[in-house]
């Protein structure tokens, strides 16, 4: 079961996230719990694998919004960097950032499950 303490340990700005959820811990944790199963992660991995940068941009842009709203800072930062990279249409390899993002996601999943 995830807790505010564990989330803070993860690096999330829980004070901000909680405030956005009108101070409701239950709502905040419920929404955070939904993050690891976000289907945009799958869409993002597929798009990067297929080198479909438009689809990848859409997926990471969507993730960035969600992660930002829940103040999951370590993930939000990676998603933001990846969004800007894809937006800039540079040829830089996206793979390392994707791996980083998925690693953070798996960490969060463990926190949620543990």
């Amino acid at each position: 079961m995830i807790t505010i303490e564990k989330l803070s340990g993860f690096g999330a700005n829980t004070a901000e996230g909680l405030a956005r959820c009108c101070g409701s811990e239950a709502l905040y944790l419920k929404l955070v719990n939904m993050v690891p199963d976000e289907e945009a992660f799958g869409r993002l991995s597929r798009a990067i694998g297929e080198n479909d940068r438009d689809a990848a941009f859409e997926a990471v842009h969507a993730l960035k919004g969600v992660l930002g709203n829940l103040s999951l800072t370590p993930m939000y930062d990676v998603a933001s960097r990846l969004t800007e990279l894809l937006r800039s249409r540079s040829e830089t390899d996206c793979e390392p950032m994707l791996v980083e993002l998925l690693k953070k996601r798996d960490e969060l999943r463990e926190l949620c499950a543990g």
């Binding site: 956005r20 409701s24 976000e38």
Partner: protein, 564 residues
Amino acid sequence: MKQFIQTNRNRRRVLVVDDELINRELLSAILSPRYEVVQAENGAEAWELLTTSEQPFSLVMLDLFMPVMSGFELLEKRRESEEARAVPVIVMTSDKSAEVKSIRMGAADFISKPYHLPDVILARCERIIELNEDKSIIRYTERDALTELYSKEYFSEYIRRLRPDLKGDVDAAVLYIEHFGMLNELFGRAEGDRILRETAGLITRIIISSSGIACRTDGNSFRIYRRHCDNWEELVERVQTELSSLSPSKGLRLRAGVYQSVDPELDTESCFDRAKAACDRIKGNYGRNTEFYNRELHELEMHRQRLIGDIDEAIENGDLRVFYQPKYRISGERPVLCSAEALVRWQHPRLGMISPGEFIPLFEKNGLIGKIDGCVWREAAAQVGKWKEKYGFTLPVSVNVSRVDIFDHSLECKLCSLLESFGLKPGDLMLEITESAYSDNAERLISLVGSLRSCGFPIEMDDFGSGYSSLNMLTTIPIDILKLDMSFIRSMMLDKKSLRLVELILDIAKFLGVPTVAEGVETEEQLLTLKKMGCEIIQGYYFSPPVPAERFSEFIEKEIMQST
């Protein structure tokens, strides 16, 4: 009133459009303490909701990047529809460059992602909703220049906005000044206008303490929308009394219909339709000023609407069946079958047999009776043809010609072509025209009867004595048969005056050389009394109720046997 709207914001509807469930849930949590939140996953779903939802939305919170239909596409599409344009949009984006573009495309504001704190979001939503409502109310001309009540359009818009916030019971009422046209004619338009202004003033007094609003709709009718109250009769009576004292005409009368505790799900226009239905119910009833829409009226109205909706199907499927009631000539030694009256019955597939007393007046009122008549005429003519062929015997059948048919200028043509289709002579089809048609338009009736008779159709004057018939009519309209209204037959055995009246009518008919038919004869006593007074033809349960054609054949067969 305005204040009233602002302090009760919680039931306004906000549409949250975002493909991310987490975002939708988060926004819903932020907005739902104050608004009813509806969610959509993409622009297409939002469009569907915006254009088909019965309850209006006060605001759309729109994400820009979504599959199926993006926020930009929705903003673009929104320009097509006035309805959709009326709802303001706040765009949610993390993209600075998209902010300006969305404002240019008609968005009212933007909120950046990650979201601000809940209070900020709520305050911005509230401000946009308020700005938009003020703007849309100002769009309508607010007042009726004559009475200074709200204009109808403004009134409707106001209620549309107000309704989601009204807590507790609300009543919708219509108020109607009767004989207003006459008042204008007799005392001049200026006087009529003065009465309208006075009425508006009195109505304002009724609503002022109840957060109600009122408007004038067309000419001499008013609408009121206010908190529920139980003393409508008293209120209307008070307006009536004051108005009578102000008016030069003694005949000025108010009529009010009230739909109390309106169904919150029902649209405003239908609420006032119900109030009007109640109001129409007391038309001509001078003992009552106020009528309420109640369960009984509701069911009656639903039933009527259903019948009106089903009539075409009934005609198509042959659910309207023609029954025949025999008429016997009683002047000889034994009663002789001389003709029949075709009467319509409705065998409804779901409601069962519907009495003609139920549907005929309804269709007479809305004019659809013409369709039914045409159908009965055809069926009856076909039947006369069949009997002619089967028995070599012509039994004339009379059919009803309704008041609306009288104004049908192709009536003669229609009837003649029916005869032709079934190989009949004009005398084979007799036409029953109700006496009350004379008072509608005597001139048209006289010329029509003349023309139908010259085609050879015998004309029966139906329901004679039931309305305000003048004896003069009998001399101005050339008729062939007089049908005594059945109410006479019922009452003549009970009181002497009625009996004497029947005797008089029969004498007049004899004097004019017109045979009489007595309808509704049920007993032998009635039959003998009528016979003694010189009535020649009898129709009624004494001989037989109306029966289907197959069963009627038995009467013909019996008659043929007896006459040979």
